[in-house]
């Protein structure tokens, strides 16, 4: 029997190792897998590379991971926020490496990893600082930059409901990076509001098929 249900966030994250690349879903407050991030903080792994749209805010989530000195590098599109003080201080002190990626390229590179592509030519960023030193090509009169996939060891995402096969449905704009990250990590862990019996999710409404998900944890 396939059963991807895990009893607690701590058990779901037990094998995260030092130096791992961890994708974390969410945009602003929507879709942030808070229970999984809390468990990652408690779990203690260090030297992490974090892939997230932002670089944390306030004292919780990614900001707390940064504060605890657990992050070596962060890939994101928008680190600067009114309350991103932990990132700001570490960045200015040279204690965290930043790879700034345009938001669409971040999604695309994650998608490329999930789809098994070697690289993608994208028009975004052509001629800007963020494409400096990168291979470019003109195709049918338009300029493109070669960007490489972003893969991860773990993806921590939040969905609304799951079944024991790991099928996921999301809620409103909390979907954001969840489906693309789910496909790009060796081990995707989904925090959901509710786990329902197999067959209870409308197959037409499933956004992330269970094949992309290794573990589901209920965190109401």
């Amino acid at each position: 029997m396939i059963d991807k249900r895990i009893a607690t966030p701590a058990a779901a994250l037990a094998d995260v190792f030092d130096g791992a690349t961890v994708m974390i879903g969410g945009f602003g407050y929507a879709g942030v897998p808070e229970a999984l991030i809390d468990a990652l903080i408690a779990q203690g792994s260090r030297d992490l590379t974090i892939v997230n749209n932002n670089a944390g805010h306030g004292e919780i989530g990614v900001a707390a991971l940064l504060r605890e000195g657990r992050v070596r590098k962060i890939l994101c599109s928008y680190p600067r926020q009114a309350d991103s003080h932990h990132f700001d201080a570490l960045y200015r002190a040279g204690k965290v490496e930043l790879e700034l990626v345009p938001q669409g390229n971040l999604a695309l590179r994650i998608q490329a990893a999930g789809a098994g592509l070697g690289a993608v030519f994208t028009p975004t960023g052509y001629g800007t600082q963020l494409a400096e030193g990168k291979e470019t090509r003109e195709i049918e009169g338009r300029h493109y930059v070669l960007e490489y996939p972003i893969r991860a060891d773990f993806a921590l995402i939040k969905a609304d409901r799951a079944d024991r096969w790991g099928n996921l449905v999301y809620r409103k704009t909390a979907r954001n990076f969840g489906p693309v990250m789910a496909a790009a990590a060796k081990c995707t862990i989904a925090q959901v509001r509710e786990i329902v019996p197999l067959g209870a999710l409308d197959p037409e409404a499933i956004v992330t098929p269970g094949i992309f998900v290794k573990r589901v944890v209920e965190a109401p």
């Binding site: 929507a30 600067r80 990132f87 938001q103 669409g104 390229n105 028009p123 409103k172 979907r175 954001n176």
Partner: protein, 217 residues
């Protein structure tokens, strides 16, 4: 001469968004445009965090933390609206499906280069978000900004000195003084604030301007 207010600029931008358009309004000043879209036009607002058919802010206490815009503020969904993930959201831009975006800017060059993401100042923390995707992706890029900086320097320039967001991507510039098109022949003034002459406008603009012969803006 009276400068246009922020609201007047927003209303002027809204006039140039036609019935049936799919539109992304950037964070900051461009968000104001949403308040002035003519109610008799069906215009679909996209927000890059994953929503089409975005409606106005909800009444107090009706906020849903799972329904926000790109500025992370609570919004509503109109009938016909839909949700999607980031991959699809940015495919809408890159793939040329989004008709218009309205962005703020530090500088726009006479060839339509846009600088709006980073001052490049030492110690400044760079953040780009979806600006570069919108700049090169939307079929029409409108810029909405003050004509000059606080210290009086033109934000319309021959060549941007701030780091670029996109090359030759801006179609039309809306400022507190004028509406200006970026054309192959250079910058063309479509409209000016009342009482303003081309000569005076040129004096506060860092690139050559021509007056459009016939107004069809």
């Amino acid at each position: 001469m009276r400068k246009w207010s922020r609201e007047e600029i927003a209303a002027r931008v809204a006039r140039d968004i036609p019935e049936g358009a799919y539109v992304n309004l950037g964070i900051g000043l461009p968000t104001l445009v949403g308040n002035f879209l003519p109610p008799d036009r069906e215009i679909v607002l996209q927000s890059e965090n994953g929503v089409l058919g975005m409606g106005p802010a909800p009444p107090p206490h009706a906020e849903d933390p799972d329904l926000t815009n790109a500025s992370k503020q609570p919004v509503t969904l109109l009938p016909g609206g839909s949700f999607f993930h980031h991959g699809d959201s940015f495919a809408m831009m890159r793939g040329g499906h989004l008709d218009f975006c309205v962005l703020g800017a530090f500088q726009v060059s006479e060839t339509g280069d846009l600088a709006n993401w980073h001052t490049g100042a030492p110690g400044a923390i760079p953040a780009v978000g979806g600006a570069m995707d919108l700049a090169i992706g939307a079929r029409h890029v409108y810029v909405m900004m003050e004509h000059t900086t606080k210290s009086g320097e033109s934000k319309i320039v021959k060549k941007c000195t701030y780091p670029l967001t996109g090359l030759a991507c801006v179609d039309r510039i809306f400022t507190d003084l004028a509406v200006i098109d970026v054309t192959r022949a250079g910058l063309e003034v479509v409209e000016m604030a009342e009482g303003l002459s081309l000569e005076v406008l040129q004096r506060v603009t860092g690139a050559p301007l021509a007056l459009r012969a016939t107004r069809h803006g």
